[in-house]
């Protein structure tokens, strides 16, 4: 391998190949990061990912504890096991970070995202879109004579699947919130 051809998971900021040769597999992890809800905190967390060359596949953030001024950042990231461990260690040592939960490691979890789909169509395609929306339990939240806006909640895979089906039926725009996740049970 040429030293310049650094694969996913290695640090882009080092000329060295930092990967553990025994752990080439790229894993996807969902992390819940509990942070102070103060200005600049999200920038600090995202800056860590860009500065160290980590991947962000999805990111959501909102305040979850008003009295405690705490926000929850749900970030889906990918990398070798060593990189994932390093991401968590780097997050945990930040002054603004209270806790980091690796939901992927901590056991079964529920992942959901909300998506809005604008589908343009008439005649048969329009009816087919409506029929598929029913199957996917998507709601119609806006309608004109030649378009629908569907609202759907589900796993990222379900959102992907619906988007794929809508494509030939006149899908013109998608808005997705990114993943919110929580562990199952207590």
């Amino acid at each position: 391998m040429s030293p310049l051809n650094i694969q996913k998971g290695a640090s882009k900021h080092s000329a060295y190949d930092l990967r553990d040769p025994n752990a080439e597999v790229i894993e996807t992890h969902t992390l819940a990061v509990i942070v102070d809800n103060e200005s600049g905190v999200l920038a600090r967390v995202i800056g860590l990912f860009s500065a160290r060359g980590y991947n962000i596949d999805s990111l959501t953030v909102a305040e979850v504890d008003h009295s405690g001024h705490l926000s929850r950042i749900t970030v889906v990231t990918s990398g070798t096991p060593q990189v994932i461990v390093q991401i968590k260690a780097q997050l945990e040592r930040m002054v603004v970070v209270h806790r980091v939960h690796d939901l992927t490691l901590e056991g079964p979890n529920v992942q959901r995202e909300l998506a809005l789909f604008k589908v343009k169509g008439e005649g048969e395609a329009r009816i087919e879109a409506l029929r598929l929306a029913e199957i996917f339990r998507a709601n119609v939240v806006d309608s004109t004579l030649e378009s629908f806006v569907f609202e759907m909640t589900g796993t990222p895979q379900k959102v992907d699947a619906f988007a794929e089906l809508m494509q030939p039926l006149g899908l013109i725009e998608v808005a997705r919130t990114g993943v919110a996740a929580i562990s199952r049970g207590l």
């Binding site: 000329a15 060295y16 553990d20 920038a43 390093q86 260690a89 040592r93 002054v95």
Partner: protein, 584 residues
Amino acid sequence: MTRQMTGAKMVIEALKDQGVEVVFGYPGGAVLPIYDEMFQQNDIKHILVRHEQGAIHAAEGYARSTGKPGVVLVTSGPGATNTVTGIVDALMDSIPIVVLTGQVPTFMIGSDAFQEGDTVGITRPCTKMNWLVKETDKLAGTIHEAFHVATSGRPGPVLVDIPKDVQFATGTYTEKADARTGHYKPRTKGDPEMIARMVELIETAERPVFYTGGGVINSGDRATELLRDWAEATGFPVTSTLMGLGCYPASGKAWLGMLGMHGTYQANWAMHDCDLMLNIGARFDDRITGRINAFSPGSTKVHIDIDPSSLNKVIHTHVPIVGDIAEVLEEALALWKSRGSKVNREAVATWWKQIDEWRAVDCLAYKPGVNAIRPQHAVARLEALTKGMDRYITTEVGQHQMWAAQYLGFEGPNRWMTSGGLGTMGYGVPASIGVQIAHPDALVINVAGEASWLMNMQEMGTAIQYRAPVKQFILNNERLGMVRQWQELLHGERYSSSWSEALPDFVKLADAFGCKGIRCDNEADLDDAIREMLAYDGPVIFDCIVEKHENCFPMIPSGNAHNQMLLGDAETQGVIGAKGAVLV
């Protein structure tokens, strides 16, 4: 009973409550209220630098030589951005620094006002934490929190950005005891199970080595004492990174010298061949490891570090211990003693025989100078003529820095201030002044190269103003020596922009600044010239004209392993392959 005062007054009160004695800074429009308060008190001494970069490096020198946080006060915009290099430097080398910056008034933020810069945005990636304070009531508490964060856990730089209207307005002072600090409490106590495993490994190791780093010095004097006790009790060899020099005495019998790219033959071979590596407060930096997959292939690795993200970042560690070095060593040493202070003495004696063979290579030997002074000789003479003095050394960055690390011996911690992680040329002059301000009667020498020295030479004005008798020992080869060395080894001897054609006359420069200038260009006069420098009661610029094309050895070429060291010029042909050439 609450105290009401202006924000500007709060800054001074908070600094006093934090025990701050010295602030390095430079005034400007957005910090005038704070400077006005500074003027009206005598508890805190303000050192006026000549450039804000000088302020932060001086604060770094102050912090590293005292173990206390360094404090910087600068104005908004350019004042703040000029500190950025030093902030990154302090982050890389884990130096506790509190930077206070002025900012345009809150109602003008975002309007591209005069001298406005997004200071918290610019410094976010290079501070441990930073704050923009928008209410005077929160100012004192934030400053107290800033000191707590800078000095707790792995130390580092923090920044508090204070808009001018917040400085003028009156608010309630938050006492130090009431400040919010509880949320940031890094773990300092090591995992007992891991400590027990480390002790077991120490009892049976056949070829052990202590690989120590700046973390030992940051942990404090107790850590240094415990390391020395343990090295003595076990008889294990000790090496150290550039940052850790002084945590074990250079005169100690277990001392192998510095390790790494320009480390000693014995230290690097011991690292390569050991069966137990005890990493205490070092971070497997790329200057240390060389080629990762050939780094100490047969050893079991123990790593003690207060920063969990340092563990397993670069090198897989078998026994990772998160904790404060002093606390972990205290517990480990007690456990080891309670189990009978066992060591595999026979195997360790054999190991020492091997190490002595490596030592016999005498890797730091250099040829005597013929026409010019050998730079190694200049540093070796400086060492000989200052032996036994309580001496503080700062450096710039480059060949001279490595020669200083190789040929100067450090007996105690906090005596060696150098830009390790970031490699900041221009660090040494201001750092030496910061050290001298902290230790007014001590001997402080900046070992410099002429190119680095010029980068912050304006700070000689600061040295004169505050009567800081810093000795600037410049190894002048009229080259950017380390760049030149790499061009020789890697780029076909094409010396692209690595020499200076228009250097100043350093003796005249000294005269212009109002200090003493000495020039020496031959070995016969060197000792007398150094004595003259040491004897002079005031700042000295010493222009030591040295051999122009001397290379720094030993050297582990980029992309090579510890057992592939070069000892001298004869071995340098074609040693760095295409793979190594892309590394820095």
